[in-house]
Symmetry: C2
Subunit: 294 residues, 2 copies
Amino acid sequence: MTTMRLSDFDRAAAVTWADDQETANADVPKSWRVHGGPINGGVTVSVALNALSERHDREFGHPDPLVISAFFLAAADPGPMEIRTEVIRSGRSLSTGQASVWQAGANGIPTERLRAVATFANLGATPPDVLTVARPPHMPPPEECVPISDLPGYPHDEVEVMQHYDMRLDPDTTGGPGGRPSGLGQLRAWFRMRDEREPSALLLPLVVDAFPPIAWDLGVSGWVPTLELTVHVRARPAPGWLRVSISSANLAGGFVEEDAEVWDSSGRLVAQGRQLAKIITNLPTLPVGHGWVV
Amino acid sequence: MTTMRLSDFDRAAAVTWADDQETANADVPKSWRVHGGPINGGVTVSVALNALSERHDREFGHPDPLVISAFFLAAADPGPMEIRTEVIRSGRSLSTGQASVWQAGANGIPTERLRAVATFANLGATPPDVLTVARPPHMPPPEECVPISDLPGYPHDEVEVMQHYDMRLDPDTTGGPGGRPSGLGQLRAWFRMRDEREPSALLLPLVVDAFPPIAWDLGVSGWVPTLELTVHVRARPAPGWLRVSISSANLAGGFVEEDAEVWDSSGRLVAQGRQLAKIITNLPTLPVGHGWVV
């Protein structure tokens, strides 16, 4: 039983291929749910990406997502899902494909839950040159940060998907998840998989979408579903802890933008993510004096 | 001849619909070319978006792009192009669709040049609440900034598409376009259409992609083709000048990320764009002492 040796993540994102080699099937465990309902959106993205990665690796030798954009059409449930893939374009060093994730609804009728387009490459062949003005976030080491499972005010046990993650929050940025918003829209944390699966290019989009909504630190509570998520994967991450910095510059008109940067243990910026999410609750009560523009 | 009264932009992005109401046709003038070759990628995006906008307005009352992701598959030429649209999902306040832009290649065989997925809404119905920590860029008024047409070192006349724009660069950030890179990866400018067409939600993705590559300010020269562009359109812009701030945090591994923020004349952040582009030339000679990490 080799499947017994798969990590949590690889088991969730695993696909089997139909004879046409274009349609794949997955079966996501219930442990990836949020509040007993749909699965975390990043997991659906991971399933789509894993299918595309296998196909682009098989056909072109391009296993790594370089840039992906995913549109969330409807929340996905745990259980079986079908992934329909399409190769859009292929070149020597880059190829672009599309994946649609379908799942039967309550009425039994298949519904498209997510559509993703992504460009793949072989990031193992990427030149190591780095010219960047970005800096990894400053924060205390993991053992001096706050495990999200210990954070007062955060409903850790209700967000079942969190059992897969080891998140250590910078003590200065626990306000959003802890129900004491700073109004600054900032979160810094260490991240690794609880089963210590090492990070990979394929894991990074999940990491970008794994954290509590940054809108919570802007005083919004409740559900903040993602409409669209774009991730640039810039390198295969080195083994070990990832550092994640999440921020939002703009909550307006009922929508909020969320930016994420992911740094690996070697200090390299390995992923940048941006998403647009919808505010479902009413507007927040405003903390005063925290740099807000109303 | 009502078409004579269309603005430059609206004439470039105009589409006519086939009987199926799903396929549209456009014909982009040569004046939108770059260096006598392909047209500017933002124009191809605009054609795709305009077709989708018309369809989503007609079918759902959602004329405005809220978030768009476009993958550039091959450079597009001036002249006829076909836009194949698909409605992916529709709801009361949001609907999502896809547009593929096809054009015959040199061999006469149709080639997909661009694929875009976008979610549409009616931004006229957006609540006016704004909670943001973002601030518009500080720069001198337009009359004290540098028209890009007057900038020494910038090949204005060879970039034909620039004739459609009135760009006034902050004198402190002319280094990239002027061939004197600062190494900071920053550009601030005022923008309007030269024919004074007022900005609209549909125009903003063009604006995001209209400026010289930010990589030039990081010391890279030559062609920096976009692989993927994501734009969040957060409000219909007020009439008048737009302020645009462009930056890059990460040039690495042969690719560069470029971020853009667009502010309207009322001081509202109306669009955020991010793109991933490929560096075609060799790595730059490095200016020293400008915050680079090598």
